[in-house]
């Protein structure tokens, strides 16, 4: 059951790939939450901003030290606001991806995701909306519920909800054990040994982790695949980028004069968002030394979900090419052989790396790398001509194939089995945290009523997703599985 005096947040404009969007917060902590992640050029705290002012600045992710978006923030203090509570609106420019990230940041900093129509409901309950509009309020809640349920149901597909139900059953089973052990001390019920408990808890924690991880894959679908185009100078990186941009550009988030040190280009490839990171300076100066280009490429590979390693097919493989192939081989990479409109000097055989792949030092969120295909250890080799525009369809195909494969990595989950609903992700993360506390508690030898607390909180979190409550289920399980009663 939700509370009614906490701080809620939601994206208040409809989601889409274009235009600006607003993340709205309402509640007693609205200002202080946004203040934690907002930075204005004059380093002014939002708490000092007078009511009903708009202030320019940036939303920062302190963890990744990243600028998430350039924003305008309006601060409106109670009671002269829509909900009669403190309201903060963050006007984001960056489109879909930054909008979602800003929302996640405010949720991480203490806001709760608003329920359907909850802003309007608060407005009404706090006397902001008059009685004649009450019916409209009810309609709003209804409409939004229907809509969000439809979305949630679509997102909670069959295979996923089955996994959650399975997980819930296992949680209930362990809880029933602990509860029976507590409530029937004279019935010869032995609690499983701490090793066995740990094993069960570990299994469930791993299952939860898998689901949460699948949501990270889901995040790729939501936010785009971080892609780096690398290669030594003059192989045609910028031509490739330009031709893709011409045909597939989604939104440009390049904002001159911001502190953003990474420029992203967003592409829409076969319906999937792909973000090309320009850390390597794809549009590098022509006269750059080869060594410097390789260094940049290696840096760009850090943290990328996908690497497009561009080679010049009309030229012999350079030592630097081999070096890059070797490094990229241990990552999720596609070899892009460019300039096939010219006579070719590179064959597939040339591309097989001479040495075993280097050990992975930094793991991308998609690690471990996918099973290698037969082509030189790479997932794919695609031959293109950026100049003539040939082979691009095949490249798009390979990229979207790879996104689908990423999504199903680590389980049998299909594309539709991903956790993409932010509400679900939050609930799963909560359950996961409780399972971690549970394992910690078992380890410390805590008594069963304390372990039960973690189990029940985890169950509540899963129940939130499935829309089920639990106490009776635990008792039913006890009476089913244990011969209880004198």
């Amino acid at each position: 059951m939700k509370s009614f005096d906490d701080t809620i947040a939601a994206i208040s404009t409809s989601l889409g790939y274009s235009g600006i969007g607003i993340v709205r917060l309402s509640g007693p902590d609205a200002i202080s939450i946004v203040d934690k992640i907002f930075s204005s050029p004059k380093k002014k705290s939002l708490k000092q901003i007078p009511s009903h002012r708009i202030i320019y600045g940036h939303i920062l992710n302190h963890l990744s030290k990243e600028v998430v978006d350039e924003v305008l923030v309006s601060v409106m203090r109670a009671p002269h606001t829509y909900t009669r509570e403190d309201v903060v609106e963050i006007n984001c420019h960056g489109g879909h991806v930054p909008l979602r990230r800003v929302l996640e940041l405010v949720l991480e900093n203490g806001a709760r995701l608003a329920g359907p129509g909850e802003f309007t409901q608060r407005a009404f309950l706090n006397g902001r909306i008059d009685l004649t509009q009450a019916e409209a309020v009810l309609d709003t809640i209804n409409a939004m519920t229907e809509q969000s349920q439809k979305v949630a149901m679509e997102q909670l597909s069959g295979s996923l909800s089955k996994r959650m139900e399975d997980l819930r059953d296992r949680l209930i089973e362990l809880t029933a054990f602990v509860e029976a052990y507590i409530d029937f001390p004279e019935e010869d019920i032995e609690l499983p040994s701490s090793e066995e408990m740990t094993k069960k808890a570990l299994e469930m924690r791993n299952a939860l982790r898998e689901l949460v991880d699948s949501s990270r894959h889901g995040r790729i679908l939501r936010e785009g695949l971080k892609t780096a185009i690398i290669g030594r100078p003059n192989v045609g990186k910028s031509s490739l980028l330009n031709v893709l941009l011409e045909q597939d550009r989604a939104i440009v988030t390049e904002v001159p004069g911001t502190t953003r040190d990474v420029i992203e280009e967003c592409l829409n490839i076969n319906g999937f968002p792909v973000r090309i990171m320009d850390t390597a300076g794809i549009r590098e100066a022509r006269d750059i030394v080869e060594r410097e280009g390789v260094e940049r490429s290696l840096r760009a590979m850090q943290g990328a979900d996908l690497i497009l390693l561009v080679l010049d097919g009309s030229d012999d493989l350079h030592g630097t090419d081999r070096e890059l192939i070797k490094s990229a081989n241990s990552k999720n990479a596609i070899l892009v052989v460019n300039k096939i409109d010219l006579p070719q000097k590179i064959t597939n055989e040339n591309l097989i790396p001479q040495n075993p792949p280097l050990p992975l030092l930094t793991k991308s969120p998609l690690s471990p790398p996918l099973s290698k295909g037969g082509e030189g250890g790479f997932n794919a080799i695609v031959k293109i001509s950026a100049l003539k525009g040939t082979g691009l369809d095949e490249l798009r195909e390979k990229i979207s194939d790879m996104i689908l494969k990423f999504s199903s990595a680590g389980g049998e989950a299909s594309y539709s089995g991903l956790v993409t609903n932010i509400r679900h992700v939050k609930a799963l993360e909560k359950a996961l945290a409780h399972m971690n506390s549970l394992m910690d508690g078992i380890n410390k030898g805590l008594s069963p009523e304390l372990l039960s607390l973690e189990l029940r909180d985890a169950l509540d979190a899963i129940g939130e997703i499935l829309g089920i409550t639990t106490p009776e289920d635990i008792l039913n399980k006890i009476f089913n599985d244990f011969c209880i009663g004198k």
């Binding site: 009450a134 507590i182 409530d183 004279e186």
Partner: protein
């Protein structure tokens, strides 16, 4: 009609619910009469001779803290006292007391008789008199009695039907007549009635029992009392014995199933799953080769033993065969056979959280009639009806305990919100705030309320306040007093606790699992003065220890409770019309109409009512508040 036929409150039934109801309301200064069919059976323990156990002792200690009688009588009648779950945390410790049946009856009757303003009548109540929607008295076989409020606490007597084998006969308990007229009367005044079943095991003659082959279970020494007010247990203490059924026993049961009313379809009522008959246990858990039996003494001067674990309704001769197949019972005599009993109950969702009928002013229901089982559950409801009937007459605000305040609150909220279709028993797992609702802090949770109601005397309350302040002062001291590594590390080493590097507070040390309060007292004795003689110093010490060690968890549960408070405070007006709320599904409307919750918190706990429905309801209630004439 003379004055003596006119009371403020009439209580029907003098079992565990009736007695608490009558005593509490009389103590609150209203005139009360309690009606029983048999004066000699006041406070009868109709099932096993024990009080307390998990979640049940929690109820008893809450009753005690609110000024009820059950704990005190239990201590006077107790012949074995034991704290269960000692190896687990304090929230799930529970005191279980074997009681002498005859002494229990005696002392409960004394409590009733010594209460001023309380009359006891041996008369059979046939009808509850209602005018319009207001109760105004009862009709007994003798005459009409008028009352402003009536509390019905009739246990299993309503249309009671006892089964032994394929035979059955009408009875309230073994050897006592049922109450037929009253059930009809409840039906006529509009209650929806259901049917439940429960059972008891055979009672054996001590002479034929060979205890030497059985396990023995002694109580704790010294016996831990149930009541805060008991200084010391005076009765001689008796052990219980443990034996087991075997495969031969199970074969006898399976061979005779055709004579079991349970398995031949005669019994229609639903029995409790936590207290199955031996027939049920053998059939449902076929791979278990034995089931435990507790032989419990019926009393100091009694030669009867209660065979806890083999509740049965098989025919008498099969019961004899069954009993004699068990180790140590080869020569046992069955003094009274076990039986199953079916009885009427009132679906408790027809009641308010005060246990007053929603549709009849002044009519309260308590105990097994509401679908519960157990003496403790009954007594808790009795106390609450007694209090609320008296408050109603005095035109004071009703007394309702929250789920975060007491097991009594959980019990009643579950009953009136979710209802029940099997005999409802309390378990600690039903309480979401289990770590707050411990038996050790029942007084800290409830005694102030008992005092405000007039059920706790000034004198007792002052002692309680002293205890409370001692606990607070001591915790404050532990937090402020710091010790140096060089002083305390040698002691810590002896206790197997890791040394400290910097100064630490005593409080921090006590938080360590391996450190007890007694160790802290040794490191630095309390300077808060000696314990006054009327307070058990171990109570203060254990409270300090529990509150310190559990602090994080207690805070976590308190926060959760606090979060839900606002929604609990949102009242739904009486007579609120749900069907006009757009967007509510038909099922949800039906559920809401059925339970008619009093606030949004209660509404949210009705099974099947969704969070969205609560959102809609909240808006609709607010709308009603602004223009009540619309709905």
């Amino acid at each position: 009609m003379t004055r003596s036929f006119h009371y403020d409150i009439i209580v029907i039934g003098a079992g565990h619910a009736g007695c608490e109801a009558a005593i509490a309301s009389a103590r609150m200064g209203v005139s009360v009469a309690v009606f029983t069919m048999n004066l000699d059976n006041i406070g009868q323990m109709s099932c096993n001779p024990a009080v307390g156990g998990l979640a049940k002792s929690h109820l008893v200690k809450e009753i005690d803290a609110l000024g009820g009688e059950m704990a005190k009588v239990t201590d006077k009648a107790g012949i074995q006292f034991k704290v269960l779950n000692k190896s687990k945390g304090p929230a799930v410790w529970a005191t279980r007391v074997q009681a002498d049946r005859a002494l229990y009856r005696k002392y409960m009757r004394q409590a009733l008789e010594s209460q001023s303003g309380l009359g006891i009548k041996q008369e059979n109540v046939e009808e509850i008199l209602v005018k319009g929607n207001q109760v105004h008295g009862v009709r007994t076989t003798e005459r009409i009695y008028k009352a402003k409020a009536v509390i019905v606490a009739t246990g299993t007597f309503l249309n009671g039907l006892i089964h032994i084998g394929l035979e059955n006969f009408l009875a309230g308990r073994t050897g006592e007549p049922p109450s037929i007229g009253l059930s009809k009367s409840l039906c006529e005044i509009g209650f929806k009635i259901g049917r439940l079943k429960t059972g008891t095991p055979p009672r054996l003659d001590v002479k034929g029992i060979d205890f030497s082959v059985m396990g023995i279970q002694e109580g704790d020494i010294p016996p831990p009392p149930m009541s805060l007010f008991t200084k010391e247990i005076k009765n001689p203490q008796l052990p219980c014995y443990i034996t087991y059924t075997n495969e031969n026993t199970h074969k006898i049961i399976l061979d005779n199933l055709k004579y079991s009313p349970l398995y031949s379809g005669i019994i229609k009522g639903i029995g409790p799953r936590y207290c199955p008959s031996i027939e049920d246990k053998v059939i449902r858990f076929r791979d278990k080769t034995r089931h435990q039996i507790f032989l419990e003494p019926e009393g100091i001067d009694s030669d009867e033993y209660y065979t806890n674990g083999i509740s049965t309704s098989l025919p008498c001769e099969v019961q004899v065969e069954l009993v004699r197949s068990i180790a140590g019972l080869e020569n046992a005599e069955v003094k009274k056979p076990g039986y199953a009993i079916e009885y009427d109950f009132v679906y408790p969702t027809q009641l308010k959280p005060t246990l007053e009928a929603k549709h009849i002013e002044g009519l309260f229901l308590a105990g097994q009639i509401n679908g519960t089982s157990g003496y403790e559950e009954a007594a808790a409801q009795g106390l609450i009806t007694g209090i609320n009937a008296a408050l109603k007459i005095k035109e004071r605000e009703p007394f309702i305990l929250g789920r975060h305040e007491a097991y009594i609150g959980v019990l009643i909220d579950d009953l009136v919100t979710k209802g029940t279709n099997e005999p409802y028993r309390m378990f600690t797992s039903r309480a979401e705030y289990r770590l707050l609702l411990r038996q050790d802090n029942a007084d800290l949770r409830l005694m102030e309320k008992g005092y405000n109601l007039g059920l706790i005397s000034e004198e007792v309350y002052n002692i309680f306040l002293k205890k409370k302040s001692m606990i607070e002062k001591e915790i404050k001291r532990l937090k402020s007093e710091r010790v140096k590594p060089e002083v305390v590390n040698p002691i810590l080493k002896k206790l197997g606790s890791s040394p400290i590097k910097e100064d630490a507070s005593l409080y921090q040390l006590l938080k360590r699992p391996e450190i007890e309060y007694i160790d802290i007292a040794r490191i630095s004795p309390s300077t808060n003065g000696l314990t006054p003689s009327e307070i058990r110093s171990e109570d203060v010490a254990s409270q300090v220890e529990i509150q310190t060690k559990y602090e994080g968890y207690i805070e976590r549960q308190k926060e959760t409770a606090e979060r839900f408070k606002k929604i609990e405070e949102k009242k739904i007006p009486e007579g609120f019309v749900y069907k006009w709320i757009p967007g509510l599904s038909k099922e949800i409307i039906e559920k809401l109409e059925d339970v008619r919750p009093f606030n949004l918190g209660q509404a949210s706990r009705i099974p099947g009512v969704t969070p969205v429905a609560i959102s809609l309801l909240m808006v609709a209630v607010e709308k009603h508040k602004r223009t009540p004439q619309i709905l």
